[in-house]
Symmetry: C2
Subunit: 114 residues, 2 copies
DNA sequence: ATTTTGTGAAACCAAAAGGTTTCATATATA
DNA sequence: TATATATGAAACCTTTTGGTTTCACAAAAT
Protein backbone atom coordinates (compact mmCIF):
# COMPACT_ATOMS: atom_id res chain seq x y z
CA UNK A 1 0.00 0.00 0.00
CA UNK A 2 1.08 3.51 -0.82
CA UNK A 3 1.76 5.42 2.37
CA UNK A 4 2.99 8.90 1.72
CA UNK A 5 2.13 12.27 3.17
CA UNK A 6 0.04 13.27 0.16
CA UNK A 7 -2.19 10.27 0.52
CA UNK A 8 -2.38 10.73 4.28
CA UNK A 9 -3.65 14.30 4.15
CA UNK A 10 -6.12 13.53 1.39
CA UNK A 11 -8.67 12.38 3.92
CA UNK A 12 -10.53 15.18 5.73
CA UNK A 13 -10.84 13.19 8.94
CA UNK A 14 -7.08 12.74 9.05
CA UNK A 15 -6.58 16.46 8.50
CA UNK A 16 -8.91 17.08 11.42
CA UNK A 17 -6.98 14.67 13.58
CA UNK A 18 -3.76 16.46 12.75
CA UNK A 19 -5.36 19.75 13.65
CA UNK A 20 -6.56 18.34 16.92
CA UNK A 21 -3.15 17.16 18.04
CA UNK A 22 -1.21 20.01 16.52
CA UNK A 23 -1.03 21.90 19.79
CA UNK A 24 -0.66 19.09 22.27
CA UNK A 25 -0.38 15.32 22.08
CA UNK A 26 -3.52 13.37 22.91
CA UNK A 27 -4.07 9.73 23.63
CA UNK A 28 -6.03 7.58 21.22
CA UNK A 29 -9.29 7.74 23.12
CA UNK A 30 -9.21 11.50 23.46
CA UNK A 31 -8.74 11.85 19.74
CA UNK A 32 -11.50 9.37 19.01
CA UNK A 33 -13.84 11.09 21.42
CA UNK A 34 -14.06 14.10 19.15
CA UNK A 35 -15.33 12.21 16.13
CA UNK A 36 -18.59 10.56 15.32
CA UNK A 37 -16.89 7.54 13.83
CA UNK A 38 -15.81 4.64 15.99
CA UNK A 39 -12.63 4.57 18.00
CA UNK A 40 -11.38 1.76 15.82
CA UNK A 41 -11.84 3.86 12.71
CA UNK A 42 -9.90 6.72 14.28
CA UNK A 43 -7.25 4.27 15.38
CA UNK A 44 -6.81 3.22 11.76
CA UNK A 45 -6.46 6.82 10.66
CA UNK A 46 -3.83 7.33 13.33
CA UNK A 47 -2.03 4.28 12.06
CA UNK A 48 -1.88 5.69 8.57
CA UNK A 49 -0.66 9.02 9.90
CA UNK A 50 1.99 7.20 11.88
CA UNK A 51 3.10 5.07 8.98
CA UNK A 52 3.92 8.11 6.91
CA UNK A 53 5.63 9.93 9.77
CA UNK A 54 3.07 12.65 10.36
CA UNK A 55 2.40 11.33 13.84
CA UNK A 56 4.54 9.60 16.43
CA UNK A 57 3.13 7.65 19.31
CA UNK A 58 4.57 7.62 22.80
CA UNK A 59 3.49 5.00 25.25
CA UNK A 60 2.77 6.18 28.74
CA UNK A 61 1.42 3.51 31.00
CA UNK A 62 -1.52 1.99 29.19
CA UNK A 63 -2.11 5.14 27.23
CA UNK A 64 -0.50 6.07 23.95
CA UNK A 65 -0.03 9.71 23.22
CA UNK A 66 -0.14 10.79 19.60
CA UNK A 67 2.03 13.71 18.69
CA UNK A 68 1.88 15.54 15.36
CA UNK A 69 5.12 15.79 13.42
CA UNK A 70 4.09 18.80 11.42
CA UNK A 71 7.51 19.34 9.92
CA UNK A 72 6.73 16.35 7.74
CA UNK A 73 4.39 18.68 5.88
CA UNK A 74 7.51 20.13 4.38
CA UNK A 75 7.26 17.46 1.74
CA UNK A 76 3.97 18.92 0.68
CA UNK A 77 4.98 22.55 0.73
CA UNK A 78 8.17 21.75 -1.12
CA UNK A 79 6.15 20.11 -3.82
CA UNK A 80 3.76 23.04 -4.03
CA UNK A 81 6.55 25.57 -3.97
CA UNK A 82 8.21 24.19 -7.05
CA UNK A 83 5.20 25.61 -8.87
CA UNK A 84 4.65 28.74 -6.85
CA UNK A 85 7.04 31.04 -8.65
CA UNK A 86 5.49 29.76 -11.77
CA UNK A 87 1.86 30.54 -11.06
CA UNK A 88 2.74 33.81 -9.43
CA UNK A 89 4.47 34.86 -12.60
CA UNK A 90 1.27 34.10 -14.47
CA UNK A 91 -0.78 36.08 -12.00
CA UNK A 92 1.59 39.00 -12.47
CA UNK A 93 1.07 38.77 -16.19
CA UNK A 94 -2.67 38.79 -15.66
CA UNK A 95 -2.41 41.78 -13.40
CA UNK A 96 -0.36 43.63 -15.97
CA UNK A 97 -2.94 42.82 -18.57
CA UNK A 98 -5.76 44.07 -16.40
CA UNK A 99 -3.87 47.27 -15.74
CA UNK A 100 -3.42 47.72 -19.44
CA UNK A 101 -7.16 47.31 -19.94
CA UNK A 102 -7.74 49.78 -17.16
CA UNK A 103 -5.58 52.45 -18.73
CA UNK A 104 -7.23 51.94 -22.12
CA UNK A 105 -10.58 52.38 -20.45
CA UNK A 106 -9.45 55.66 -19.00
CA UNK A 107 -8.31 56.86 -22.36
CA UNK A 108 -11.66 56.00 -23.93
CA UNK A 109 -13.71 57.16 -21.00
CA UNK A 110 -16.18 54.83 -19.24
CA UNK A 111 -18.51 52.86 -21.45
CA UNK A 112 -21.83 51.43 -20.37
CA UNK A 113 -22.02 47.64 -20.57
CA UNK A 114 -24.64 46.05 -22.86
CA UNK B 1 -17.76 11.82 -4.47
CA UNK B 2 -15.32 14.03 -2.69
CA UNK B 3 -13.50 16.19 -5.19
CA UNK B 4 -11.08 18.55 -3.60
CA UNK B 5 -7.52 19.53 -4.34
CA UNK B 6 -6.14 17.40 -1.52
CA UNK B 7 -7.71 14.28 -2.88
CA UNK B 8 -6.69 15.18 -6.42
CA UNK B 9 -2.99 15.52 -5.64
CA UNK B 10 -2.95 12.38 -3.53
CA UNK B 11 -2.45 10.25 -6.61
CA UNK B 12 1.12 10.18 -7.96
CA UNK B 13 -0.03 9.84 -11.55
CA UNK B 14 -2.08 12.98 -11.24
CA UNK B 15 0.87 14.83 -9.76
CA UNK B 16 2.91 13.70 -12.74
CA UNK B 17 0.24 14.92 -15.10
CA UNK B 18 0.24 18.31 -13.43
CA UNK B 19 4.00 18.46 -13.75
CA UNK B 20 3.79 17.57 -17.40
CA UNK B 21 1.37 20.35 -18.28
CA UNK B 22 2.78 22.89 -15.86
CA UNK B 23 4.85 24.58 -18.53
CA UNK B 24 2.57 24.32 -21.52
CA UNK B 25 -0.89 22.97 -22.19
CA UNK B 26 -1.08 19.59 -23.89
CA UNK B 27 -3.93 17.76 -25.52
CA UNK B 28 -5.28 14.60 -23.96
CA UNK B 29 -3.38 12.24 -26.23
CA UNK B 30 -0.05 13.93 -25.66
CA UNK B 31 -0.50 13.63 -21.95
CA UNK B 32 -1.56 10.01 -22.22
CA UNK B 33 1.38 9.21 -24.47
CA UNK B 34 3.77 9.72 -21.59
CA UNK B 35 2.22 7.11 -19.33
CA UNK B 36 2.09 3.39 -19.41
CA UNK B 37 -1.55 3.30 -18.44
CA UNK B 38 -4.26 3.56 -21.05
CA UNK B 39 -5.44 6.82 -22.55
CA UNK B 40 -8.82 6.24 -20.92
CA UNK B 41 -7.21 5.98 -17.50
CA UNK B 42 -5.33 9.23 -18.06
CA UNK B 43 -8.53 10.81 -19.30
CA UNK B 44 -10.18 9.92 -16.01
CA UNK B 45 -7.35 11.48 -14.06
CA UNK B 46 -7.68 14.60 -16.14
CA UNK B 47 -11.37 14.66 -15.39
CA UNK B 48 -10.71 14.55 -11.67
CA UNK B 49 -8.13 17.31 -11.98
CA UNK B 50 -10.63 19.35 -13.94
CA UNK B 51 -13.44 18.79 -11.49
CA UNK B 52 -11.42 20.28 -8.67
CA UNK B 53 -10.18 23.19 -10.74
CA UNK B 54 -6.53 22.20 -11.05
CA UNK B 55 -6.88 21.86 -14.79
CA UNK B 56 -8.97 23.65 -17.36
CA UNK B 57 -9.63 22.26 -20.81
CA UNK B 58 -9.80 24.34 -23.96
CA UNK B 59 -11.26 22.88 -27.08
CA UNK B 60 -9.36 23.55 -30.26
CA UNK B 61 -10.81 21.77 -33.24
CA UNK B 62 -11.03 18.14 -32.34
CA UNK B 63 -8.31 18.46 -29.75
CA UNK B 64 -8.70 19.49 -26.15
CA UNK B 65 -5.81 21.24 -24.54
CA UNK B 66 -5.34 20.74 -20.83
CA UNK B 67 -3.90 23.65 -18.95
CA UNK B 68 -2.71 23.51 -15.35
CA UNK B 69 -4.25 26.01 -12.93
CA UNK B 70 -1.42 25.87 -10.46
CA UNK B 71 -2.70 28.75 -8.41
CA UNK B 72 -5.31 26.34 -7.13
CA UNK B 73 -2.48 24.80 -5.13
CA UNK B 74 -2.83 27.81 -2.89
CA UNK B 75 -5.45 25.87 -1.02
CA UNK B 76 -2.84 23.32 -0.13
CA UNK B 77 -0.09 25.69 0.83
CA UNK B 78 -2.50 27.76 2.88
CA UNK B 79 -3.41 24.68 4.80
CA UNK B 80 0.20 23.72 5.33
CA UNK B 81 1.18 27.24 6.28
CA UNK B 82 -1.24 27.40 9.17
CA UNK B 83 1.12 24.90 10.79
CA UNK B 84 4.42 26.18 9.51
CA UNK B 85 5.12 28.80 12.11
CA UNK B 86 4.24 26.19 14.59
CA UNK B 87 6.64 23.47 13.55
CA UNK B 88 9.38 25.97 12.88
CA UNK B 89 9.08 27.17 16.42
CA UNK B 90 9.56 23.61 17.57
CA UNK B 91 12.60 23.20 15.36
CA UNK B 92 14.04 26.37 16.82
CA UNK B 93 13.54 24.97 20.28
CA UNK B 94 15.35 21.81 19.24
CA UNK B 95 18.18 23.82 17.79
CA UNK B 96 18.50 25.81 21.00
CA UNK B 97 18.60 22.61 22.95
CA UNK B 98 21.30 21.15 20.76
CA UNK B 99 23.33 24.32 21.13
CA UNK B 100 22.97 24.09 24.83
CA UNK B 101 24.27 20.54 24.74
CA UNK B 102 27.11 21.69 22.57
CA UNK B 103 28.20 24.40 24.97
CA UNK B 104 28.01 22.03 27.93
CA UNK B 105 30.23 19.63 26.02
CA UNK B 106 32.76 22.38 25.52
CA UNK B 107 32.75 23.23 29.20
CA UNK B 108 33.33 19.62 30.17
CA UNK B 109 35.80 18.94 27.42
CA UNK B 110 35.23 16.07 24.95
CA UNK B 111 34.24 12.77 26.51
CA UNK B 112 34.61 9.40 24.87
CA UNK B 113 31.32 7.66 24.23
CA UNK B 114 30.60 4.27 25.86
C1' DA C 1 -9.10 -10.04 43.32
C1' DT C 2 -12.39 -7.88 40.34
C1' DT C 3 -13.75 -4.57 37.45
C1' DT C 4 -12.80 -0.62 34.42
C1' DT C 5 -10.35 1.50 30.99
C1' DG C 6 -7.24 2.12 26.89
C1' DT C 7 -5.80 -0.07 23.06
C1' DG C 8 -4.81 -3.48 19.26
C1' DA C 9 -6.28 -6.99 16.10
C1' DA C 10 -9.48 -9.82 13.35
C1' DA C 11 -13.30 -10.59 10.36
C1' DC C 12 -16.31 -8.62 7.58
C1' DC C 13 -18.68 -5.06 4.38
C1' DA C 14 -20.05 -1.45 1.06
C1' DA C 15 -18.39 2.04 -1.67
C1' DA C 16 -14.80 4.36 -4.12
C1' DA C 17 -10.54 4.26 -6.85
C1' DG C 18 -7.94 3.05 -10.61
C1' DG C 19 -7.66 0.36 -14.37
C1' DT C 20 -9.18 -2.21 -18.86
C1' DT C 21 -11.64 -3.17 -23.25
C1' DT C 22 -14.98 -1.85 -26.35
C1' DC C 23 -17.97 1.23 -28.78
C1' DA C 24 -19.63 5.88 -30.45
C1' DT C 25 -18.81 10.18 -32.62
C1' DA C 26 -17.04 14.38 -34.34
C1' DT C 27 -13.26 16.47 -36.87
C1' DA C 28 -9.27 16.30 -40.06
C1' DT C 29 -7.05 14.52 -43.91
C1' DA C 30 -5.83 11.62 -48.12
C1' DT D 1 -16.05 10.40 -49.88
C1' DA D 2 -13.52 7.19 -47.23
C1' DT D 3 -10.18 6.87 -43.65
C1' DA D 4 -7.55 8.15 -39.79
C1' DT D 5 -7.42 10.64 -35.44
C1' DA D 6 -8.84 12.74 -30.89
C1' DT D 7 -11.80 12.14 -27.52
C1' DG D 8 -15.83 10.75 -24.53
C1' DA D 9 -18.74 7.19 -22.55
C1' DA D 10 -20.20 2.59 -21.02
C1' DA D 11 -19.62 -1.78 -18.91
C1' DC D 12 -16.93 -4.38 -16.22
C1' DC D 13 -13.24 -5.89 -12.84
C1' DT D 14 -9.96 -5.89 -8.84
C1' DT D 15 -7.95 -3.59 -5.05
C1' DT D 16 -8.07 -0.12 -1.66
C1' DT D 17 -10.60 2.77 1.63
C1' DG D 18 -13.10 3.77 5.40
C1' DG D 19 -16.08 1.94 8.32
C1' DT D 20 -18.30 -1.55 11.70
C1' DT D 21 -18.75 -5.15 15.33
C1' DT D 22 -16.56 -8.28 18.16
C1' DC D 23 -12.91 -10.26 20.85
C1' DA D 24 -8.48 -10.14 23.48
C1' DC D 25 -5.41 -8.28 26.81
C1' DA D 26 -2.64 -5.45 29.72
C1' DA D 27 -2.64 -1.66 33.01
C1' DA D 28 -5.33 1.08 36.52
C1' DA D 29 -8.61 1.68 39.80
C1' DT D 30 -12.05 -0.31 43.19
Amino acid sequence: MRRDVFQAIADPTRREILHMIAHQPLNVNSVAGNFDVSRTAVYKHLKILTECGLVVVKQQGRERYCEAKLSKLNEVSDWVNQYREFWEKKLDALEAYLEELQSKKKKNGRKKRK
